[in-house]
Amino acid sequence: MSDKSETVLEVISKLANVSRDTLKPEMELVADLGIDSPKALQLLVELEEALDIEITDEEAARLESVGDILSMYESK
């Protein structure tokens, strides 16, 4: 797994308050991890800062699962 993916998973596990090892790509951000609007903002800002990238509104709107985030970051 790349460094980018590791960073992504660390940020998600911290915000969702779950162990890094329990995260699976198919997990849904809202239904499974309880990522509400404020937490989603935290997630996006922290990932942008950690990986020095910018996420567009269109990209953000498509993010529904852990796997969606990983795919997006791998493609950048």
């Binding site: 308050n17 509400d36 609007s37 404020p38 937490k39 903002l41 935290q42 800002v45 509104d57 953000a60």
Partner: protein
Amino acid sequence: MKAEANISLKARFFAGLLTLLKKLLSLTYRVESFEGQERWETILKENTPVLLTAWHNRVFYLSIMIKREIVRRGFKLAIMTSLSKDGQIGAAMGMISGARVVRGSPSRGGTEGFRRFYRLMKKEGYSIVILPDGSKGPKYEAKMGVVVMAQLTKCPIIPMSFSADRYWEIPSWDKMIIPKPFARISVVIGDDILVDRDADEQALESSRKSVEQVLMEMNARAKALISKG
């Protein structure tokens, strides 16, 4: 999503009517005491981003007070209104006031709305208004959005409240307070509430409770000031 694009003619008409009504009422009000006026003046003078925060039912008079400063001093302010029909009227009223309007609510379009707020503060230097028990309550229960926004932007939360010696209480979920004509008014601006950038979930929850407590104390303080008068 542009706020302007989602506002019907009907909503604009009602917004215009309500703005006129607010203007007429405001001409009759008399601010009898203003606690924290020095801090308020500094905020307006510096025009650097802050999070103006009040309970939803206190927005009627506070919005009159803030609008005056947008017009008079070019205070850069953004507001968020919900994507509902009521939100359309709020959005139109915000635009008439000269505020930047962001549409969204925790249940619909919330993340996008919060991101727009965040960018307006960080990149364009706007202050924002956040009503922490809005847009649907429960009344006097602060949600997490205000403290997360303060954490990420590193901008202070400025708690605000007001009271009036005579007012109508609208039978809405928040029991909106509208001062009656010729009401005497007291305004209270509280001390800055700062949220550490590295705050964990527990610290954020503690800040959320602190916002709740301070806003309740300020309601009581504003009421006490007007009672004395």
